[in-house]
Amino acid sequence: MNSEIIISLEHVTKRYKVGDGDFTALSDINLQFKKGEFAGLVGPSGSGKTTLLNIIGSLDSPTEGKAIVMGKNISALSHKESAMLRNYHIGFIFQVYNLMPVYTVFENVEFSLILQNKSAAERKKAVMESLDWVGIADMANKKPSKLSGGEGQRVAIARAMVKRPDILLADEPTANLDAKNAHAILQTMKALNKELNTTFLFSTHDEKVMGYLDRMIHLEDGKIREDEIIPHKLSV
């Protein structure tokens, strides 16, 4: 497996202004992720998981320290450059599926490729392929409101994967799913991770998710308490 480092966080600190003072959501985070990892940020609610994912996803930037993603320093990017980074290299999956309600499943998945100015034929091929990966190719023309929770999250995965990103950030992706759907989706993601060598980074406090991870970074009050490699996975 390729051991190229694609995410590197050095002394990352994030403070929010709260009233007159500051609230430190992340403090002195040092982490590196290699291509193809299947890792998770775990910790209680409010421990800073989402904040960290948003910084890696270039939706936010650190107050101090450096976040280097795909060789780019997040703090130094313009709006356009960070949009480009997201468009070509990073996929997002959220706790709520966040599909655009007026568009069909197909159109929701297609959108990233429109931004990349791909031709209609290329788009169609890629969209159908990614809907296939998650097993809902037959729902291409449905509206999001007609989907079940598990189906909605599958569309979200297809939308994130359709552009074959290097990094997939999943913020509590199973929180709204029952056990059966949660496992199905995790298995799908694991398979995609193997097949496409995409780096997966989760934020979760769901035991089911933890069972699939190769690496768990435990966060508490914005600090890393433990960076744990899961041994049985290494033997695979």
Partner: protein
């Protein structure tokens, strides 16, 4: 991307319907009001030109100063010769003479006693001279509601409500009492040959129309006339032409200090018409301005509401890698599309209403019962090419402006904040 936006507009009725309705109403109103004001003003100007002012009018200086009193003692003399020379100097214009006069109409019964009486506004025209075009100009033939045109000296037409008031029949004789231009008493019998309805209350209530030769006899105005009117040959008033003509004519008498020297006034200088014309123009521009402002504010607010509703969509699009500038611009494209749709529908509605009002008009004769203003009793709109864009452009502009203002909110917001609003 455009297809993506159009799909969104068509499927998301909340996004498009309200702005489209607002723009449609605004655009339709603007077009209707403009068309209507232009039409009514045009008719007022046109009627004034025909009955009162001509495209240009020649009077003596003294007559001009007192023209409200119909001062025929200050009339022009030697008018036939003057008309010949005017026709030579300004051949693109038709010249006619008219006398307006006041007096009393008395209706005698069979024994010669007064049966009815009323003040009259007399109009003496070149009725018997077909070349003058006066009968056509004033549309007299089709304004006659009973009887016919006077065929010979001593015949008269009378306003229909005047005739009603005096209880006159066709063929009845009336006696006119008045003063000659020299100030002595005069009276003369006329036979009513017909009644007319001009659709202008001021005329219908008190007018008597006779040939100018009769008036010259009764008023002792041989070869005289109160006014000489000039009409541009194609019948359309063009201020530049009128001005050129009046400047040239008035220059001839510049050095004369004779108070009976003739002076030429163009339509715009008479009866405050310049004031009306400018007023309507100002009014139209003001209306369009207020409309654009009001629409922009309303659309700004609907844009803000729409934006709030769509934070989720914007957040997703940001996450998927669209940059804020592009989202902002795509909102403007949407505004252009929605603005164009609303403006087209509004223009179609507005133009249809204008067309309807041009053909059928609004009858206001009831309101003009006691009015002495020279105003058409059916108000009609008028279609002009200006109406094709006078509503369309402001409609589009208001929508785009409104969305630019509401979009600034999206633009200013931190990406992370906008994005976090996604979270539940």
């Amino acid at each position: 991307m455009i297809k993506f936006l159009i799909t969104g507009i068509l499927r998301d009725k909340n996004r498009s319907l309200l702005p489209i309705i607002i723009i449609t109403i605004g655009v339709a109103l603007t077009i209707t009001l403009s068309g209507f004001m232009k039409g009514v003003l045009g008719d007022i100007v046109d009627q004034n030109a025909k009955y009162e002012t001509g495209h240009v009018k020649i009077m003596t200086r003294a007559y001009k100063e007192n023209k409200d009193q119909l001062p025929n003692d200050l009339c022009l003399l030697g008018v036939d010769e003057m008309i010949d020379s005017l026709q030579m100097r300004f051949p693109q214009t038709q010249w006619v003479k008219r006398i307006k006069f006041g007096g009393l109409i008395d209706v005698p019964d069979s024994k010669g006693n007064t049966k009815g009486q009323g003040p009259a506004l007399g109009m003496a025209l070149e009725l018997f001279n077909n070349k003058s075009g006066e009968a056509e100009r004033l549309n007299i033939e089709s304004s006659i509601i009973s009887g016919s045109m006077p065929q010979k000296s001593g015949g008269a037409l009378i306003g229909f409500s005047f005739a009603d008031k005096l209880g006159l029949q066709i063929g009845d004789t009336v006696t006119y009492f008045g003063t000659t231009m020299n100030g002595s008493m005069t009276f003369q019998n006329f036979v009513i040959s017909g009644t007319v309805r001009f659709g202008t209350a001021a005329l219908d209530k008190g007018t008597i129309i006779i040939d100018i030769s009769d008036a010259q006899k009764v008023l002792d105005m041989m070869d005289g006339a109160g006014e000489i009117l000039g009409y541009l040959n194609d019948g359309i008033y063009v201020d530049e032409k009128a001005k050129q003509m009046s400047d040239e004519f008035n220059a001839l008498y510049k050095n004369s200090d004779d108070e009976f020297a003739p002076v030429m006034q163009r339509l715009k200088e008479q009866n405050n018409l310049a004031g009306y014309i400018d007023l309507v123009d100002t009014f139209s521009s003001l209306f369009v301005l207020i409309f654009v402002l009001a629409m922009s504010i309303v659309l700004w607010n609907t844009g803000l509401l729409g934006g709030l509703r769509r934070y989720q969509e914007f957040g997703i699009r940001l996450a998927l890698g669209e940059d804020k500038g592009r989202i902002y611009r795509s909102n403007i494209y949407e505004a252009v599309l929605i603005g164009a749709i609303g403006s087209i529908i509004g223009s179609i509605i507005g133009l249809s209403v204008v067309y309807y009002l041009q053909v059928y008009g609004i009858d206001i004769s009831g309101m003009l019962q006691n009015s002495s203003m020279m105003m058409p009793s059916i108000m009609r709109a008028r279609f002009t090419t200006e109406l094709l864009y006078i509503g369309f452009i402001p409609g589009l502009f208001a929508m785009v402006l409104g969305n630019m203002l509401s979009g600034i909110g999206i633009y200013k917001r931190e990406t992370a904040t906008l994005f976090k609003e996604l979270e539940v």
